[in-house]
Amino acid sequence: MKIADYTAVELSEQIKQGRVTVKEALDAVFEQIDCTEEAIHCYVTIDRERAYRQAQEVQKKIDAGELTGPLAGVPFAIKDNLCTEGMLTTCSSKILENFVPTYSAEAVKRLEAAGAVVIGKTNMDEFAMGSTTETSYFGITRNPRNTEHVPGGSSGGSAAAVAAGECFAALGSDTGGSIRQPASYCGVVGMKPTYGTVSRYGLIAYGSSLDQIGPLTKDVRDCAAILEVIAGEDKKDSTSMKREDTNFTEALVDDVKGMRIGIPRDYFGEGLDPEVKQAVLAAAKVLEERGALVEEFDLSLVEYAIPTYYTIAAAEASSNLERFDGVKYGYRAPVDDLHPMYKKTRSEGFGAEVKRRIMLGSFVLSSGYYDAYYLKALRVKALIKKAFDEAFAKYDVILGPVAPTTAPRLGESLADPIKMYLGDIYTISVNLAGLPGISIPCGTDSKGLPIGLQLIGDCFREKNLIRAAFTAEKALQEERR
């Protein structure tokens, strides 16, 4: 077996057993990067020197028996909105084109403490605003499964890097589907944990009440192993939760007997590609054959999730992005007067989609419109949360598609923003309700593009998701054979 074919957990096992060195693992990744990066463009920054330096340290600790975990020695890619000390962090924006953080995000720190080796920062939609990775200031990323198509977004670089073998696993962030949707488009596993499970310290904020960091991986086992490492309370993020049940790898059980799975009829209506529908329902059948109790139900309010999301996310973005003013870091427009400098810096530093959302957010928060738009959206959010609470009184897991279609062709999505926003219909309400969601591959369409299966759990019930996803993954692999 080639080094590149190992999953993250398998690779770490090989390293601990002395069959592969950390350096050899890096060599394999960089060899792949030399092969495919020019065509796919997963990364904004690749730092080989830092990676090899880190690899030496990690190898020493593994040899000394100090690092024994399942991620020791594994080369990782990090989405470029997660701060990495001493390594460029741009959010794929001109306004941060030269920003070098003085500290690392808590999730990155925890990965590194577990022996992961960071090789670079992945491309994304600017400030995570987009679903295609086409709004990056540093150019588009292509889908490794078919380079005429988008990888999805906003964590498109992370998903593409895992799919192309340009890393063994990656971190992304998910505000409205930004981990699950690109995972689906690229045919990898991606998970958004319950809000508050992973510290957001060092994640450059987009919509703070919705943002959550999570893994993109080759399989469900890697996903659980990474989540176990990065989850946990952090005093530096007051929204992070104290949880005792973060031993997620214990949920890697190939058994769904008696698990109650609900399929929302509202997720299978108009707009869903028939091939996606077929593959997702086939996956549900497979789980049913293995003993799950599967039934359809009406979730309700699905069509209100997107307008609610865009109101809240834009409002929070307009506030969060106020800090980019050309004073302390990043791009500054050469203007000799303070206020015009702010304006010019922001106008030249932000791309069109970011400006669109900042303006919408400023508007819905402005005096006279605040109640009608922003508060209204927060009230609907409460209703959406209630609809999920009712569903989870009956079901352990909700099953549906990740996105209405497989990956669109490059350039097709940006022309019509609302149409692009509609592509988030199945992922977005999960963020509004703070729920965990996972995307796993469940087939391909007639063009050979991957289709994703989404499993949604109740808050703090990642273990149900991992168990169902692990079982589905095994079963689907068997079927393919």
């Binding site: 809000y195 302390k328 303006m359």
Partner: protein, 98 residues
């Protein structure tokens, strides 16, 4: 389109958002914001009387900690990111006419 965004509104939003738009961008912004608001108006179909706005999904209130400095001194690295600095300070363009 139900929501017509006029020039005055776009000017006002530009001030709030600290953005300077070209005429072309303004026209586009008027169109985009109008159609987004039309879309968001869909929320009006729902009766939310008596529903409390939900800002946080969990019943978490204020989180307190002791007011103790825990981070070290990173002045030099922080200033290294500054577009302009002088004597350990950030330099900005003139604020008041001299």
């Amino acid at each position: 389109m139900a929501n017509i965004i006029d020039d005055a509104t776009i000017e006002y939003v530009g001030i709030l958002a600290k953005l300077e738009l070209t005429d072309e961008e303004k026209e586009q912004a008027k169109k985009d914001m109008g159609s987004m608001l039309d879309y968001i108006d869909k929320l009006g179909e729902l009766d939310t009387t008596g529903v409390e706005p939900m800002s946080h999904v969990f019943p978490v209130q204020n989180v307190f900690r002791e007011d103790v400095v825990t981070n070290g001194d990173a002045r030099e690295q922080i200033l290294a990111n500054a577009p302009e600095e002088k004597d350990g300070m950030f330099v900005v363009p003139q604020t008041f006419p001299g």
